[in-house]
Symmetry: C2
Subunit: 335 residues, 2 copies
DNA sequence: CTGAAAGCGCTTACAG
DNA sequence: CTGAAAGCGCTTACAG
C-alpha cells in the first residue's frame, strides 16, 4: 500500500498538519522533529500526492503544450525548449499533437482543463478562434507560440516573420539573383504569408518584382513540396533563387533540383526557414532563416508562470528576431 | 468561478450523486433528467475535475514517457506513436527528457509518482537499475522501450538488434563488399553492442572478419560521428562498406566522406540504423535498418493499459523485427 | 430511479 | 512550536 500523510504522522507521533509543514518547508518546526519526520518519509518511500495537494488549492504544476505534430523536428525542438524551462521552474508538460484539426484541439483543450493544468501553450493552428474563449472565461493562462490571433487577448510569443522573409530576399539579391520565386505554405498559415510578404516587399524596394505565378504553395510535407518544386524548377527560365517557407519545403526543392539535374547552388539557390536539425544534414547544407526556437519556448513558459505568480493579467506580445544562417545551398549567380 | 458538481446539482435540483452518474454514464437515470443535466453542464461550461476524480479512486489517465531527448527525431517519432495510442485509449502523456542522466531520471520518476500517473514508459538509458525498484514496490506499471534490463521484472518492447546488424551485414556482403567497418555508440549502449554483434557474426559466418580497429565508437551526435568517420575513412585502404549504429552517425559518415572527396556509394557504402526522417532527407538518401518505431510505441502503451485493466501482472517481453530499407547510400562495390 | 453520507489525501486558517 | 477541524470536488456503496 502506498504511504499517506497519515502513515507518516502516526509513525512520527505528530499530526498530519505538522507533516504537511515539513513537506512544504513552511511554519516553524523544531529541527529535531523535522529531521525525524524526513527520515520516516524516506524510509517509507513516501511520495506526497500532488493530486490531493492540487485539490486543496495548490497548483498542479503541469502545463499543456499543443502542437500540430511532435514528430516534426521543428515542434520537437520547441517542445524540448518548453520542457527544459518548465522543469527548471518545477513544472511538467503534457504534449498534445493536433494535426491542426480543430476538433482535436478542442478535445485536448477540454481534457487539459479537466486535468486542471496551470496553463497552456498553443503552437498549433486554430481555424476558429472561438474555441479558445471558454478558457479565457475560466481565466486559464494561455500563451500562443509563433501564432497570431489578433482577436484574442492572450500572451503571444512570435518571431518577426516579415523580417525573416526580408532577410532571405536580401541575401539572394546580394548574391546577384533577380529571377526569384517562393514556395509557401497554404494561405491559412499566417506566418507563411508574412514571410512571403517580407520577401516580396524587399524585392520591390530593390526594384524587382515577384510575379504571382512565382509564388507557389504546397503542404508542409516533403513529397508535396517536391512535387510543386518539380513543376516550378522544371520550367524553362526557372528562377535561380528560391525561398521556401520552411526547411522541409526547402529539402523538397533540393530533391526536385537534383532530380531535374540542376546543381545547388550553381544552378539554383535555395533558402529555407526554421533552421531545424534537418537544415544541417542535407547536402548541400541549407542556408536558412533561423528561428530562435529555444527562446520561443522559454519565453512562452515564462509568460505563463509570471501570470500564475503575479496575477499579472495584461497579455504580453513578444516578438523575437530571426537570423539568416548561411550554409551552402545559396550561392552567387553564375554567368 | 469554475463550476463544480454542486453547482450542477443545485441548478438541476438533484443530488451530486445523480450528476456523477450522468457524467460517468453509470446507473439508471431517467432519460429526461439525464438530458436536462447534460444541458446544464454544457451551459455552465462544466468540466469535471479529473483531479478530484482521481483522488476518489479513479485513474489519472495520464502516462509518463521518459526519453533521453525529445528533440532527437527518433524519440520525437516514438513520442508521437506513444501519444497517438494513448489518446485513442483516453490517456494523455507527459514527456520527460533525461539527457540520459540518472539523477534526472530519478527526479522525474519521483515527480511522476507524486502526480500519480497510471504507468510509465522508459526509453531512456539507466545506469543503475536500482532506481526503478521503488516503482516496482508500488507496483506502478512500467514498460521499457528499446532498452534491456534483464535484472528487472518489467514489461519490455524491443527490437531484435542482432538481426538488425545481420541485415546490414548481409546487404553489404551481397553488394560485394569485403573491407568492412562499423561505427557504434559507446559500449554502455547495449542495443548498439547487439547491432555490432549481429553484424560481426554474420561476417564471420560468411568467412570474413571484422578487425578490432574496424570497430569505432563515437557519441551519437553529428560532429562526434563525423570526426570519427573522418579518421576511419581517411586511412588508406579505408573500408568500402560502413555500418553505423544510428542514422545520425551515418550522416556524420556521409559528411566525412564528402569532405574527403569520397563518393557515396561509389567509393564507400554507408548504412544507417533507425530510419528516422533524417534518412530520407540526406543526399544520397540513406539505406538504413528501419525500426518499427510506431509499433514500439503502440505496444508499450498497450502493455501498460492491459496491466491496468486486467491486473495481469506477468511482465511481457515483446521483440519486434527490424527491416532493411534500401535507398541510395549503399551500392555495389566497384572494380 | 435517486439521495445522504463517508472518504480519498492533502492544505489552510485558527487555536493554544 | 503543534494539533483539531473544515474543506477541496469528486465516487462509491448503501438505503430507500
Amino acid at each position: 500500500m502506498k504511504a499517506t500523510i497519515y502513515d507518516i504522522a502516526r509513525e512520527a507521533g505528530v499530526s498530519i498538519a505538522t507533516v504537511s509543514q515539513v513537506i512544504n518547508g513552511k511554519g516553524k518546526i523544531s529541527e529535531k522533529r523535522r529531521a525525524e519526520i524526513m527520515e520516516i518519509m524516506e524510509r517509507l518511500h513516501y511520495q506526497p500526492s500532488a493530486i490531493a495537494a492540487a485539490l486543496t488549492g495548490k497548483q498542479t504544476y503541469t502545463l499543456g503544450l499543443l502542437v500540430p505534430d511532435i514528430s516534426n523536428p521543428y515542434f520537437a525542438e520547441l517542445a524540448r525548449a518548453v520542457e527544459d524551462r518548465s522543469r527548471q521552474l518545477g513544472y511538467s508538460v503534457v504534449i498534445c499533437s493536433t494535426d491542426n484539426k480543430d476538433e482535436r484541439v478542442e478535445r485536448y483543450l477540454n481534457l487539459l482543463q479537466q486535468k486542471r493544468v496551470d496553463g497552456m501553450m498553443i503552437g498549433t493552428g486554430i481555424d476558429n478562434a472561438e474555441i479558445l474563449s471558454p478558457l479565457l472565461q475560466q481565466s486559464i493562462p494561455i500563451a500562443l507560440i509563433a501564432r497570431h490571433m489578433p482577436s484574442l487577448s492572450v500572451h503571444t510569443v512570435t518571431i518577426d516573420d516579415i523580417l525573416g522573409g526580408a532577410l532571405a530576399a536580401e541575401h539572394l539579391l546580394e548574391l546577384g539573383h533577380t529571377r526569384l520565386a517562393v514556395l509557401s505554405e497554404p494561405s491559412k498559415v499566417s506566418s507563411s504569408q508574412e514571410r512571403v510578404r517580407g520577401f516580396r516587399e524587399t524585392l520591390i524596394k530593390a526594384g524587382y518584382t515577384l510575379e504571382p505565378n512565382q509564388i507557389r504553395e504546397s503542404a508542409a510535407d516533403l513529397s508535396s513540396a517536391k512535387k510543386e518544386a518539380l513543376l516550378l524548377l522544371g520550367e524553362k527560365d526557372h528562377p535561380t533563387g528560391l525561398f521556401c517557407c520552411n526547411d522541409i519545403q526547402a529539402i523538397g526543392a533540393l530533391q526536385a533540383a537534383k532530380e531535374l539535374g540542376l546543381r545547388v547552388p550553381e544552378d539554383v539557390s535555395i533558402i529555407g526557414f526554421d533552421n531545424t536539425i534537418l537544415a544541417s544534414v542535407t547536402s548541400p547544407p541549407l542556408t536558412t532563416v533561423a528561428q530562435p526556437i529555444e527562446e520561443l519556448g522559454h519565453r512562452a513558459v515564462d509568460l505563463l508562470i509570471e501570470e500564475l505568480k503575479d496575477e499579472q493579467k495584461e497579455p504580453q506580445k513578444i516578438v523575437l528576431k530571426p537570423e539568416l544562417v548561411i550554409r551552402e545551398s545559396a550561392g552567387r549567380v553564375l554567368g
